[in-house]
Amino acid sequence: MKSRQQKTKRYGMVIDLDKCTGCGACMVACMAENNVPFKEDESDKLDSITWMRVYKLTNGKSFPKTDLCYLPRPCMHCEGDHGHPPCVSVCPAVATDYSRETGIVSQIYTRCFGCRYCMVACPYHARYFNWWDPVWPDGMEKYLSPNVSPRMRGVVEKCSFCFHRYQLAMDRAYYEGKRELEEDEYQTACTQACPAGAIIFGDLNNTGHDVNKLKKSPNAFRLLERLGTNPKVYYTSSREWVRRAGDNYLKKESK
């Protein structure tokens, strides 16, 4: 009999900003995987639900010294201080929680009553509120996946690291008599779709996973690290201005 005790996993990402081309495939792969709705006009980015959003950064220099870089932003699945991310701490309904088993910050739509405290608390704008009920044009409901429930009006939603894929992979593993997942058995939809191979996903604690090694790169950084949110999404960039754009630095400060 194998031990029921499992090793704690901390799923996370390392995104190579040198490879990211800003093509947007991750955004659409995420929307298609997670039944994310769309409206007639999505150009107001404040109410446009994109669990994964690719931001465009520029170095602010004038022609021809200008440079630009794209930065994909999923939910950072912050660990905070010992498993207390900012959004979880403020949720009055326990609709969002930090899983000590996987390190994934969950969002349970049926518990959420839409107070949006978590949206205020999240420094990454990773959370979105459903101001309207989702409407799919006639016939398009056919492509909705049964793995993720469509959300109703009045609740907050965000990236789940495709948690349903973790559940399916674990079910399969149990069925096969395994207790642990191989690295490629659980991958998020954006990681799978990224044509540039810029997104690497895995267990940050597992020395056999690529993310464990990649996050130690001297070029690795996290967003707004100094807030102490302890995010599990790392970025790497060979360009200093990009690394500096990840946090608010004073002019004199060096990173």
Binding site: M31, P146, S149
Partner: protein, 741 residues
Amino acid sequence: MKIDRRSFLSFAIGGAAGIHLSPLPWKLMDDVSIWSQNWPWTPVPEDGEVSYVNSTCTLCPGGCGISVRKIDDRAVKIEGMKDHPVNDGGLCILGLSGLQLLYGPTRVKTPLKRKGKRGAGKWEKISWDKAISEIVQKLSKLRSKGESHTVGCILGSDRGTVPQLFHRFLSAYGSPNLMHTPSIQDSYELTFNLMHGIQTMVGFDIENTGFVLSFGSGIIEGWGSPVRMFKVNSKWRDAATKVVQIEPRLSNTAAKSTKWFPINPGTETTLALGLIHVIIKESLYNRDFVDNYSTGFNNLKKFVLSAYSPDKVANVTGVDINTIVSLARDFARAKKPLAICGRGKGVTPGSMSEFMAVHALNALVGNINREGGVWAVPEPDYIDWPEVEMDSIATKGIQKERIDGAGGKKYPFSKHLLNQFPEIINSGKGYPLQALFVSGANPLYSMPDTKSVKDAFDKILFVVSFSSFMDETSENADLILPNHAYLERYEDVPLAVGLQKPVVGLTRPVVEPLFNTKHVGDVVIRMAKALGGNIADSFPWDSYESCLEETMEDMWDTMVEDGFWSDPDFTAPAWESAFDTSSGKFEFTSNGIKSFTRLDQVKIEGDVSSYPLTLIPYDSMRLACGFIGDPPFVIKTVEDTVLKGKDLFIEINPKTAKANGLYEGKYAILSTPIGKAKVKIHLFDGIMPGIVAIPRGLGHTAYDKYLADKGINFNELIGPVEDPVSGLDAAWGIRAKLAKI
């Protein structure tokens, strides 16, 4: 008790205040929202058995393998096919949202016949039998009058069984007028034709390249087969391969390249010839290739040494003189260097001078048909049908001059010149076109100078669209015979654009046809059978499916099993046997075009005094600009500095904006000699002063509310500029002006 004003007011106000202080309204509001939240209009997707179907994406010429996840009979997600020779698991933004096209509101659900005026959007549903008999009647009448050549056809491509069925149909019927949507592939093919003397496709062994010199090609903006190019781009990063990007605007490709050199737009040919000058002058070229396998080198040498010295080139291109010299040296000395061209995604064919100059650069460093270089990839030859049965009308008909002038006296090398066709029709120079079939193309959106294209269409008496979607061309057709969507039909995908290995993909039904649609191949076969005589005899197949299976022969089983057929061991022929020119060698000065003096820059429309700025288009992966428009997911990813509401932003350098009194987010009128549009200003430091740029792919008038009427179609602002050698469209921009509102 008497109710006076005072007691009434205190009762009303006190009551209202009391109710609000009580929990009642809040409780009720809470209950109502929870109750209405649970109304059943949020769908609960049904669960079922999971399965995957492997197929090939046909939304662009990239030829990616897809793996579609199904729940029972519903398709729920498209993913990239693992181990596919083109995309190996990755997929682009458009391919990922294909189900929104399949299940979307823009599908044409049944054959439609126009009621009322063209383009009025009034349709009458008709049966397939009636629709086909109507076409057949029209065609028989034309044929009996000896006007079979006045029937034309516009396709997305001219390769594969479906285009070849159309070709066969037109030949047997008696018309030479098969045209297809042009792209840089046409220019590359012509380059090979002129310099190698062979009819071939271009392939790039780009995975093994050691140094990339790109003349404005959008390597990560959709040039070539997009997903493959993304993968290659990442590979270059890992291998620290040097990539040099030359273009006037900081595109994503420029930002990701090792070095970006801005250049005055339209002077790329001059720069290429300047680099050739340095390479020849410093004897950095591959002697083996030049001495033993080429002719015309001395003419080239004389030509570039006299007119393209680095200082002159620097003057024209705006690229620094030292940069030109060091770039030429770096390129020539690098291991396995490769130069590529074709701006952005490569939807405009471009000028032959540019393609030939860039190809000459490749030849000079000896990378033709070599590892990491440019390869001549043979055209797929699996279509081996019996000869078309010709009668006297057919023989007479196909000998008539083509309506677009391709292959005629002026442009003897070109096979198709779709861009010439609107002008020829509008000017009445050629014969009138009486019927036109359109399949796999959307010329009313994607051709330059949309207005004149529309005028030309208005002069064609009978337009039939085979589109699965209600696009611009279908909206202006007389009859729509909807094809199955690409996830509902069989088709061969005979190439992945730019790939150095022959791959034939198989598109196959993922779901049963949802609507009353028919495979376009079946419709062609049925039309042929109904026309009878030699036309029917030329089509011995019962259905498209049997035709495809028969055609593929022994490749069929592999294709069904794996989803594709490929020849991984293919290598391009060695230099000894690679060229089929009259000299048997590579021709630096093609005999076809006689002299280099025709290698000139392409002048764009408009004069500097009334149009002080230059307008160029830019491409983005998030904006599909081919015959398919953006599905809702894709348009959702477009940034709010490109599109806000229905307004389009133009990119302009802050300096140029300031000089014109324009500020971020303000409206302005952008006008060119062709058209005018109201735009918003977006300041972008990465664009050369004096230039404004707008994206391709917006400004659709058709499709659904998620796409229609958003932004501006670049093709409404630009007209075609004829290339003197090919006759293809070589316009890279147009003069423009901006006025404050």
